[in-house]
Amino acid sequence: MKTLLINCSIIHPEQKLNEKKKDILLEDGVIKQIGNLSSGISADKIIDLRNNYVVPGFFDMHVHLREPGREDEETVVTGCNSAAHGGFTGVACMPNTDPAIDSAEVVKFIKEKAADHLVDVFTIAAATVGRKGEVLSPIAELYEAGVVGFSDDGTTIKTSSILKRALEYSQMYNLPIIEHCEDESLSGGAMNESINSTLLGLPPIPSIAEDLIVMRDIILAEYTKGKIHIAHISTKKAVQLVREAKAKGIHVTAEVTPHHFTLTDDSLKNYDTNYKMNPPLRTRTDIDEIILGLKDGTIDCIACDHAPHSLEEKEAEFEYAPNGIVGLETSVGLSLSELLHKKILSLEQIVEKLSINPRKILDQPIPQFKEGEMANFTLLDLNEVWTVDISKFKSKSKNSPFDKRLLTGKSIGVVNNKKMLFDGDFFDL
C-alpha cells in the first residue's frame, strides 16, 4: 500500500535536514521517496500535511505503564495509546511494577503486550532484585532480554557500594543506570521545603535531598567510568552539578519533566493532589536554572514521568495521595508552549530533547529520513491552540494538573511500525 504525505516541513537535526514543501512517499510503512513528488505519483492514500512538521518520532524514556500489577490504572496497551495520541512512537517503561521488571520473564511479558502496536515499548529493568537495593538484578540476562537501562526508580539505590557495582557491571553492555535521586533520610515529605510548605503545614522535602544524591552519583560515575542518567531533575543545584560534571567529561546525562519546567510549588495552595509529585514542584529559581540547563545542553532530554493513578487514590488527603501525573498527552504541548513559543529552545533543539537524545542515552538507533528506512515520524502542528481536556485522555487515568490549560502546538499524528495515527484514528500503511 502506498501513502503519500504532501506539503511536509521536514526537520531532522541529526541529518541536518530542514526543508519545506516536501512530499514523502511511503510504501508499506517504509520510506520510498522524499522530494517534490505530488505530480505524477499515484498513491492509495494522500494526506495533506499543510506545511506542518514531520520530525523523527518522539521517544519518552521515563513512563510508568503499571502493568503488571495495577492494570486498573494503566496497561501496556492503554499507555501506548496515550503515548501515540501524545505524539510518541517510543517509550521506555520503568520497572516499579508488581512484580518488578527484574527478570527476563517480565520483560518478555511486557514485550508481548506491546507487540503489534504503533508505539515501541522498551523496558528499563530494576537495578536490584525487587528494587530493594540489596542484590544486583541479573543484568546480563536482562540485557539479553532486550532491556535498555537499569533503575530502581521510585527510590534511590541507597547503598553506595551497590550503585558502584551496578555502574561497573552495566558498563559491559553500555547501558546507563537511571537514578531517582532522593536522600530518604532528608525527604519523606509531601512537597518542596519553602515558605509554602510552612504556610500549608505540609511535611517538606528539601531540595538538598536531591542534590546530595546527584553529587554522590556523579562521584561514583566518575570513579567507575559508568554511565549515570539523572531522572526528573528538579533543583537548581542538581542542574549545576550535572553541568560541572559534563564539563569534566563524566558520563552523566539528565532529563526533566514538563511539569518541572512549567509549575512551581505556588500551585499547591489549594491542596490539589494533582500537583503532588516526586520530586516535588520546586521554585521559580529552580525553573530558571532548568531553563538554562535545557538551553546549554546540561539537560539532555524531556521525559514526562507518566504516572497514572486511580481517581480514588488521588482524591484523598494530600499527604496520603500518591505522587505523579499522566504526562504523555500533555508533554509535547507543554514543550512547544513553554520552550519553543517562549523562545527558549529552537524546534531542532526540541526534537533533539524529545527524540534524538533519549535514544542516544539508551543506545538505540535514531530513525532516519532515508529511502528504505522504516518510517518513524511525529507530525507537529506548532501553532494550533488547544485546551487540555482530561476526559479525552487515552490513558486509563486522568490525574493531571493541566486540565483546562490552554496550549499552543501539538502532535497531530505519528507513524511507526507500518501504522499511522492521524485525525484520531489508527490505520495500517
Binding site: E193, S194, I195, S197, T198, L199, L200, G201, L202, P203, P204, N270, Y271, E312, E315, A316, E317, F318, E319, Y320
Partner: protein
C-alpha cells in the same frame, strides 16, 4: 455583620474585620456562659458533626459544649467507632455523613489540608479543629480573645510564641491572626523548631528565652509534644528545659507584668516549671472557658450565614 467566608479553614488570609467580629461575638457568648441557664436557641434545628480523625479531648468537648449551648443537634464521629477502620475513603465518609443532612462539620485530622479538601467536595460549612501541622484557628482565636481580655487590645502588643513552632498548628494560626490584627509577633525556640522561611512573614526569631521574656507582653508557650517526633529536634528534654523552659526565677528577673498562655496540657518541668504552671492555673482555665465562647461565636456566625 457577617463573615466573608462560608468556612473557617484557617486564619491565613482571614480579614481583620472577620477576626474582630468573631472576637466581639465571643464576648457576648462569654457573658451567657456566666448565667445560670447557659443555653440559647440560636442554632436550634441545625446539625453539627464533629468529625475527629485524631484523638482529642479538650477541643472536642469544647466544640460539643459550644454546640449544646447554642441548641444545635450534634453528632460525634471518631476514628475507631467508624467505617475508617473498614477502609472507607475520606470522600465517601463525608458524602455519607452529608447525605444525612448536616449543616456544619467540625473536623480534626492528622493530615494538613483536609478541611480545604472537604470544603471543595461538600456543601456544609467546614470548621477546622486542627489539621496536621497546618492550622488550628479556634485555638488561636481563643488565645487572641484571652490576650484582648487582659490588655483590652491586640494591635501593637508584642507576642512571642515559644517552643516547637515548626510542628505547631496553634503557632501558625496565632501568627496569621495576630499579624492581621496588628500585633508584633516573634517566635522563640531551638533553631530546629523554627519553621523554615518564617521571617518572610515578618516574624522575628529569638533563640534566648530571657530575651523573649524581657521584650514581650505575651508569651504563648506551646506544649512540647513528647509523644510526637519532637524528641529528634533537640538533644534532650533536660537541655530543652534548661535553655527554653520558663521558670519563676526567669520571670522574676524581668519585673514587668507579662501574660503567659498555654494551650494545655502542660508538661510540667519541661516548657513550664511546676511553680509557673501553678501560678498560671487561673488564666489557663480562663482560656478553656473562653474557648467555648469563641467556638460558639464561630458556630453561630457560620451556622446563621445562609
Amino acid at each position: 455583620m457577617s463573615l466573608s467566608s462560608r468556612h473557617l479553614l484557617g486564619l491565613q488570609g482571614v480579614p481583620k474585620e472577620d477576626i474582630q467580629l468573631i472576637l466581639d461575638t465571643a464576648a457576648t457568648f462569654r457573658e451567657i456562659l456566666e448565667r445560670p441557664i447557659k443555653r440559647v436557641p440560636t442554632l436550634q434545628g441545625k446539625t453539627v458533626v464533629n468529625l475527629f480523625y485524631e484523638n482529642s479531648t479538650r477541643t472536642r468537648i469544647s466544640f460539643e459544649l459550644a454546640e449544646k449551648r447554642l441548641s444545635a443537634d450534634s453528632v460525634n464521629f471518631s476514628v475507631g467507632q467508624s467505617s475508617v477502620s473498614k477502609g472507607e475513603t475520606l470522600k465517601d465518609t463525608i458524602k455519607n455523613i452529608e447525605a444525612m443532612k448536616v449543616d456544619l462539620v467540625v473536623v480534626r485530622h492528622a493530615a494538613a489540608g483536609v478541611p480545604n479538601f472537604l470544603s471543595r467536595i461538600c456543601n456544609s460549612n467546614i470548621i477546622n479543629a486542627g489539621d496536621g501541622i497546618h492550622e488550628h484557628p479556634t485555638q488561636a482565636l481563643l488565645d487572641m480573645y484571652s490576650i484582648r481580655e487582659k490588655f483590652g487590645k491586640l494591635a501593637g502588643l508584642k507576642v512571642c510564641i515559644v517552643g516547637d513552632v515548626a510542628h505547631s498548628r496553634v503557632a501558625m494560626s496565632n501568627i496569621f491572626g495576630l499579624k492581621t490584627i496588628g500585633a508584633q509577633v516573634s517566635v522563640c525556640g531551638p533553631s530546629t523548631m523554627i519553621p523554615k522561611f518564617i521571617e518572610e512573614l515578618g516574624v522575628n526569631i529569638i533563640h534566648n528565652i530571657d530575651e523573649a521574656i524581657q521584650e514581650n507582653d505575651v508569651l504563648n508557650v506551646l506544649r512540647i509534644q513528647l509523644e510526637r517526633k519532637a524528641r529528634e529536634y533537640f538533644p534532650s528534654i533536660r537541655e530543652y528545659a534548661n535553655y527554653f523552659g520558663i521558670t519563676q526565677e526567669r520571670l522574676e528577673k524581668n519585673g514587668r507584668d507579662i501574660l503567659i498562655l498555654h494551650p494545655g496540657p502542660i508538661n510540667r518541668g519541661v516548657e513550664l516549671s511546676s511553680e509557673v504552671a501553678d501560678g498560671l492555673n487561673q488564666i489557663i482555665l480562663k482560656q478553656v472557658t473562653n474557648g467555648v465562647a469563641v467556638r460558639m461565636a464561630v458556630l453561630y456566625l457560620l451556622g446563621t450565614l445562609n
